[in-house]
Symmetry: C2
Subunit: 492 residues, 2 copies
């Protein structure tokens, strides 16, 4: 029955243009109406119900309809809800943005500049240390004709040189970091300036470590020449010790990476228009973030102080949720500004070829996947200089991962706790809390269907962006308020 | 260069398990490390930056990454934002749901019951009219041996019979509708009960029209027998006038369609578990809608009265936006409750086979597409009994569409304006406003790329669900308040 009646229905559907669409009429006019069935005389009898059909949302339905329209609806509802909150915010607070109100102290700026200026000195010291180590190695290699005894002695010489070098490097790098931390914690009031100084110091510390470790291994390979030295081919254009130059180190300092290599893949030229666009993005997003935190985040934070003080759980939950959207937008904008705009601009100026500063972390179906993909520079550093060596020494992957997260947790707490003058350990424990979350979400990532991955992805977003970040911000803000009473702006 | 160094990098990525994931270690342990490159001695030298790569969000990047994770994020943010609003609402208003506070008047319920009871009487009259017309037709056909003259006389007889029948049907159907409208507008205070009565009356009126028109054409075909009568094959099991029975009409009254057919596709049996599930869905969603409107929509509507009164545009905009999310959820729940749950339950009980009460209207890329797909029963009625006949008489598709929307606009205004006792024309002009919107979005639907369709879909959602519905609700609520001062509940 179905096939014939279906043909009739289709003929009708085509010959009588649809009710509400002028749109479809023209299109249908070009397709000639079926010749057999003239709908002329008996227009009111067409059998529109001629076959068994299921509602498309029923489980009996053979095909699942597309839900693409609901994606558009979600975007629109999010826009509408946030536009409403913007209007509400203005009606409630008016314009809160005020450049002059900002509490920049002269001392902060002077101290910050001094700290920035000190960094090249430490780098110069690192260079001097490596230069002397390279000199010693050159002397060793200079002595030709090797016996087994001589080789043994060379090894010992290398080890003692390394001990000496390592000590000097540690002293140099740690003094730089310790000094900055001390000044930021005790003398720089403004959390923004403090964060910048502290961030720079941590980056240089990591670079220093990578420089020392890499040169150590390169020196070792240099002292033990063999047919297959086990060094990457890309390094062959600049073999040890020719890489130990001030220019090479300066390039590493400025390059958007924490992993030292004598040679990096380089681009042929600098596209200044590219640089300009990326910098414009960075500046635009920075202003956007500043406006957002001054106009939206600040009042929410301020309104939550009383609620935290009396531990009103429902209100704290409400505040965290209100904050979560804003902090999420700030976070996403900050990610894009830093990892896409700024690092790409820097890479272009430095003709640095490897721009994989992140991969698609937003699709992470586990916390582990997230930490491997969102911040590739730090990830690569940890992988090369902490995880791999520890596993090489026989540590279990679990213990090595724990070590990586412990180090990362300390650095995070330094980055957040020192500039806000509250070493309260939230950032530290937040990072350490990643380990159970990683263990929890790892099985989901490996599930075959898309469902496990979706659940893993949702756990990532909720734990990290919707709860973790705003709760952390709230706690540091509360600690700041408890210590200083008032704040002009929350450090990012 | 790239291919070789890439191999090296990949080898490294695989041999040294990734930093932060225990998750990946086990999987990698099973894939044997590449034999050539032992990462044993020189762990700190791996060339992680060995090739030119682009950031995945850069325009230079060859592949666009998937953004599936952001879809999950959108869902989570929507949930979080609305959870927050729920908490805020409870902190502000407490529990507003109150069954006893409901202003049900005894008179409303009695009058509503009487109106419902009157409908079968009108249907019986419609049956009597058709029965007498069929009797006359039978007599005409009974007289055999036809000359041309006799045929001419039969045609005239048919036309006069039709005029007579049409007048009686019009009187019968219109008295039923007019009486209900009059009682609902003047004597039924509660907008919910009024809406139910009015909806039932309009449905029966439409069914009456369809019954009269269809039987007219069937009679015409009966009086002019030919080899190809031009009737759908499905009708052959119940040819005119055998379909004019009380049972047949009663089935049409209860069946979930507005288009009369002597025969419908039927299912073999009634699955009572299916009916129970659909009814449970309907009841559950109805309660959900009631809770939502009492707890969330009512305060928003109440708070907006002052703002409309003083025409504060920013505040009205804010109220419309706040209302839009709630009205959207109510609308979606209502759609599902009515078109998926209730009509499917009814169809199952009636063994009605064609369950296509809607198609995927949420993907509509034009307003025209939306009106063709969201409410198939009304669409099919309009197409068969208004649009097609008018186009058949030589009307332009544009004019015929205009007629359809004008009729629809009148029915919408009756459905909303009468039970709320405010014939303010918002529903009428809202429907008429669809015509320019359809014309505007029609070109978008026909664009080849997905972009035009997405824009069209967004225009549909914004115009219909985010602005049209809440604005309409606000205006009718305001009119109600202006007339009665206080309201226990807004009629849906």
């Amino acid at each position: 029955m179905a096939s014939q009646t279906e043909a009739v229905t289709t003929a009708h559907e085509h010959s009588s243009p649809s009710v509400n669409g002028f749109s479809e009429n023209k299109a249908e006019a070009t397709t000639a109406p079926t010749p057999k069935k003239r709908p002329s005389k008996y227009r009111h009898v067409a059998a529109y119900h001629a076959q068994l059909r299921q509602s498309s949302l029923s489980r009996d339905s053979e095909t699942t309809p597309s839900f693409l329209g609901f994606r558009n609806l979600m975007v629109l509802v999010l826009v509408a809800m946030n536009l409403r909150l913007i209007i509400e915010n203005f009606m409630k607070y008016g314009v809160l943005i005020c450049i002059k109100c900002h509490d920049y102290r002269k001392q902060d700026i002077i101290l910050g500049s001094v700290l920035f200026a000190l960094v090249p000195c430490h780098l110069f010291l690192a260079y001097a240390i490596e230069l002397s180590a390279a000199g010693a190695a050159k002397q060793t290699v200079g002595r030709q004709k090797k016996t087994v005894e001589e080789k043994e002695r060379d090894q010992q010489a290398f080890r003692s040189t390394w001990r000496y070098t390592a000590l000097l490097h540690s002293l140099n790098a740690s003094i730089c970091l310790a000094l900055t931390s001390f000044v930021v914690y005790f003398y720089i009031h403004h959390p923004g300036i403090g964060t910048l100084c502290q961030l720079h110091a941590i980056i240089v510390w990591l670079k220093n470590c990578s420089y020392a470790f890499t040169n150590r291994d390169l020196r070792l390979a240099y002292l033990n020449p063999s047919a297959d030295p086990g060094l990457p081919e890309i390094y062959s254009t600049c073999p040890y010790p020719r890489n130990v130059t001030l220019k090479n180190l300066a390039y590493f300092w400025m390059a958007p990476t924490l992993v030292y290599q004598p040679v990096y893949p380089r681009t042929a030229s600098i596209r200044w228009s590219f640089v300009a666009k990326r910098l414009a993005e960075f500046v635009g997003l920075s202003v956007f973030i500043w406006l957002l935190s001054a106009q939206y985040a600040a009042p929410v934070l301020r309104n939550s102080i009383d609620k935290i003080a009396v531990m009103d759980i429902a209100s704290i939950l409400e505040r965290v949720m209100k904050l979560s959207t804003i902090s999420l937008i700030i976070w996403l904008a900050g990610f894009f500004a830093l990892f896409q705009a700024l690092l790409n601009a820097l890479a272009e100026v430095m003709q640095f070829g490897d721009r994989e500063f992140y991969t698609d972390w937003w699709n992470s179906s586990s916390l582990g996947g997230y930490w491997r993909s969102w911040n590739r520079p730090v990830y690569l550093f940890m992988k090369r200089h902490v995880y791999s060596p520890l596993v090489g020494r026989g540590w279990s992957p679990l213990a090595a991962s724990g070590m990586v997260f412990a180090l990362s947790a300390i650095l995070h707490e330094m980055l957040v706790g020192l500039p806000t003058h509250n070493f309260i350990g939230v950032a530290f424990f937040g990072m350490m809390f990643q380990l159970p979350l990683i263990a929890l979400t790892a099985p989901l990532e490996k599930m075959s269907g898309p469902q496990g991955k979706t659940i893993g992805n949702c756990i990532f977003w909720v734990s990290f962006c919707l709860v973790g970040q705003p709760l952390g911000a709230l706690l540091y803000f509360f600690a700041w308020q408890a210590k200083y009473g008032s704040v002009s702006r929350m450090g990012v």
